[in-house]
Amino acid sequence: MSGFLAEVAIVGVGLHPFGRHDASLTGMAMGAQACRLALADAGVSWADIGYAVGGSNVSGKPDTLVGVLGLTGVPFVNVRNGCATAGVALATAANAIRAGETDLALAVGFDKHARGAFAASPADYGHADWYGETGLMVTTQFFAMKDRRYLHTHGLKDRLLAQVAAKAFRCGELNPAAWRRTALSEDEIMRARVINPPLTQYMLCSPSEGAAALVLARGDRAADLCERPVRLAAVAKRTRRFGSFEVFAPWLPPEAGPSPSVDAARAVFAASGISPLEVQVAQLQDTDSGAEIYHMAETGLCEDGAQQELIDLNETAPTGRLPVNTDGGCLANGEPVGASGLRQVIEVVLQLQGRAGARQVPRAPRVGFTHVYGAPGISACTVLTALSG
């Protein structure tokens, strides 16, 4: 980034662990805790924050957090963009710094979902009632069908779905903040209850509860606030284009088009001047284990079909050549939709700072990447780099 645009760095992170918590603990309360942790990590106070952005899909209006954190008059934008909510919140906060509105911004996301698969209203997605009533409007169906088509087209084996899930739970076992911390064998995963074939219950992430927050600073202030600031090299978001195979689609054209993940990833790599081949640690949307597989290719981290060898050789584990979802991803953390993308960024920040504990990627990674994807066809990506040596 050069010219008139300010550099943006992440100088504080705060995570309220994802999972299932006491019924009386609200999403908003988890959000407030994540904010306080992020402020403390940065060594700043809420009154120092000049711009805030919050995202939640089901747990209230984020800007009401000011009533808990302090009525400082701070501008506060609410975001509600499905699974990409947190990515959009981060982009909005970063842009406020780049636009010169503030030196210090905060992005927060939180959610507390009911158990079980999400229920969607047809009208909310522009569909008539028949689409929901006849049982076609179920997100997990889409995940299974996109996986099957992708594996078939690129000659990948169904067992890869279990390999990815097994890796996620191994990472979860190493992550004290993860929800699912028990490793499972590939056979246990393959033999588990079938949800939507080829997906079994452990190959799908569950809606959960949690919150995540980041403090962002203009680049020239970052070094004063943080020993090892992480540069937000670029952030980009896109909606779907014609021909992309998306959730909640009663029809597709025979001609395939790029997914929003392809477009957002291309945009973020172009804006950062960094190649996908330089990425040393990545967080990809793994709503199901197949999504991690095809998102590796859609974001440019590998070629279509190359996943078989990469995963067979364990290259996507924290110790591999291309570590993916080192904190266990959505599979081991569940998905509080509004917070999920910020959890991803926090994990990459910790990895670039060497603070990731037992799951730390060796050899001090300096380039990280995050990617979220959600209904009805949206994606947000970031490129993050270590600032100090």
């Binding site: 006849t134 169906q141 099957r148 689609a249 009663p250």
Partner: protein, 136 residues
């Protein structure tokens, strides 16, 4: 019998699905659209879709979806779901027949799917595709 949504069909007997074709770019959409997703054109004509095609991808809905899904009177049983390539358009559909035999590329044909009784007892139907035998 009556259609769960009259806009889905150009005919119930024989069953035929209704879509739209864009005058500007020939894109076919299902159900019929008022604006073209590809070129943003608004000159769209109703067209009848092919009743035969090939299976593009598929799964089985093994758990009962939450509302607004409506189970049949006999209760929920797992059902097939897929996308069927009909030449001009790939349509999402319930699938009937034994999922053990489903494979990408197999020939499929349109059929009616009984759902539940309407207010006066008339059966309400939607559409489904069933295996037509062999590869498409």
């Amino acid at each position: 019998m009556i259609a769960v949504d009259p806009g889905l069909f150009s005919s119930l007997d024989p069953p035929r699905l209704a879509g739209s074709r864009c005058a500007g770019c020939d894109t076919v959409a299902f159900p019929a659209a008022s604006g073209c997703a590809k070129c943003a054109g608004t000159d769209l004509a109703r067209v009848e879709l092919a009743e035969r095609g090939t299976l593009w991808t598929w799964t089985v809905q093994a758990f009962e979806p939450k509302a607004p899904y409506r189970a049949p009177d006999g209760g929920f049983t797992p059902y097939g779901v897929g996308y069927v390539e009909l030449g001009d358009v790939i349509v999402e559909s319930r699938l009937t027949g034994d999922p053990a035999g489903f494979e990408i590329g197999m020939a499929m044909r349109l059929t009616l799917l009984p759902l539940w009784p309407g207010p006066d007892g008339t059966p309400v139907v939607s559409y489904a595709f069933e295996p037509a035998g062999g590869l498409g």
